[in-house]
């Protein structure tokens, strides 16, 4: 089913907003991680973990799910299709992978955010030690999102075997349609 131009523009606007928003939120998250690793202040470490929990659950996770959903709508609602072109397929696989890893990782962030909220003392060694994992997750996550962005903008050539079959079917269908012509009375006649 192909979308109307107006609906397609709206869906594209939503998709770009959610996807770019996701990248921006991960950059903000990464900034918190790096800033917290550089500081010696225990209060800053605790505050950063609480902020990371909030950014993760209320910004990054919703944007990731919305981006995945609008991406599916965009591919299924246009002639690109979901499995016909390699760049669409890779975008889908990478987005799904990033979302799954995010959802698996978020309970850990919630755990440390909870610990940071309960801890009163200056001993935040455990919270500080856990930041290396955050740097890895957010860093690799950002890299994956940038790769998806580049794929979506450049749309490198390459059709999947399914895409080729689909195109052949369309060609066969259009040739069959062209093989019919109307006579002088407007009736459809078969030629060739």
């Amino acid at each position: 089913m192909t979308m109307t131009p107006r609906l397609r523009k709206f869906a594209l606007t939503m998709h770009i907003t959610f996807s770019v928003g996701w990248i921006g939120a991960v950059v903000a998250y990464l900034a918190l991680v790096v800033a917290t690793m550089a500081t010696q202040d225990a209060q800053t470490v605790r505050a950063a973990w609480i902020a990371m929990g909030l950014i993760g659950w209320f910004i990054i996770v919703p944007l990731a799910l919305a981006s995945l959903l609008t991406g599916l709508v965009m591919s299924l609602g246009t002639k690109w299709g979901l499995f016909q072109h390699y760049w669409v397929l890779f975008s889908l696989v990478l987005t799904t992978f990033a979302t799954v890893v995010l959802l698996l990782h978020m309970p850990r962030v919630s755990f440390f955010a909870g610990v940071a909220a309960k801890t009163d003392g200056a001993d935040v060694g455990g919270l500080r030690g856990a930041l290396r994992g955050e740097l890895l997750h957010a860093g690799v996550g950002l890299l994956v999102l940038l790769v998806i962005e580049v794929l979506n903008l450049y749309k490198p050539r390459g059709m999947t075997p399914y895409g080729w079959r689909k195109r052949q079917e369309q060609r066969t269908g259009s040739q069959a349609l062209n093989a019919h012509k109307t006579d002088s009375d407007g009736r459809i006649v078969e030629v060739g």
């Binding site: 192909t2 594209l12 390699y86 698996l104 994992g133 490198p156 390459g158 080729w164």
Partner: protein, 119 residues
């Protein structure tokens, strides 16, 4: 030999007006056509113009999806797909290995979280 070869050139606006005025048919149709084309000149004479500097978001319609390898001749997998595939597999394996080693052997709570819980 010795004669200069004339290179074709684009006629100017004034020349085209002149041609239109002298090639008028009795019904005036030719002149009208030429003048109409002349008025539309700036828009039509853009076959060598640079592409627009903005991003072509209309390509997202999927109307022109001719991005297949060699546009119809070969159905082989492009090189970038193979490279991306290998990177993706490595990424997934790395994630699985890191996840398993982080969890330890059979434990549900990662070591760092256990340490924080104990402290």
């Amino acid at each position: 030999m010795g004669s200069k070869e004339e290179t074709p050139r684009t006629i100017t606006l004034g020349e085209s007006r002149f041609v239109a005025s002298i090639l008028t048919l009795p019904d005036g149709s030719l002149a009208a056509n030429l003048l109409a084309k002349e008025r539309a000149g700036p828009e039509e004479n853009t076959h060598m113009a640079d592409p627009p500097p903005y991003l072509d978001f209309d390509s997202d319609t999927g109307e022109d999806t001719r991005v297949g390898p060699d546009r119809g001749s070969a159905t082989s997998t492009p090189r970038w797909v193979k490279v991306f595939g290998i990177i993706l597999i490595v990424l997934v394996l790395l994630f699985v290995i890191l996840h398993l080693t982080d969890r330890g052997h059979g434990g549900h709570t990662p070591p760092i979280e256990r340490r924080v819980q104990q402290s």
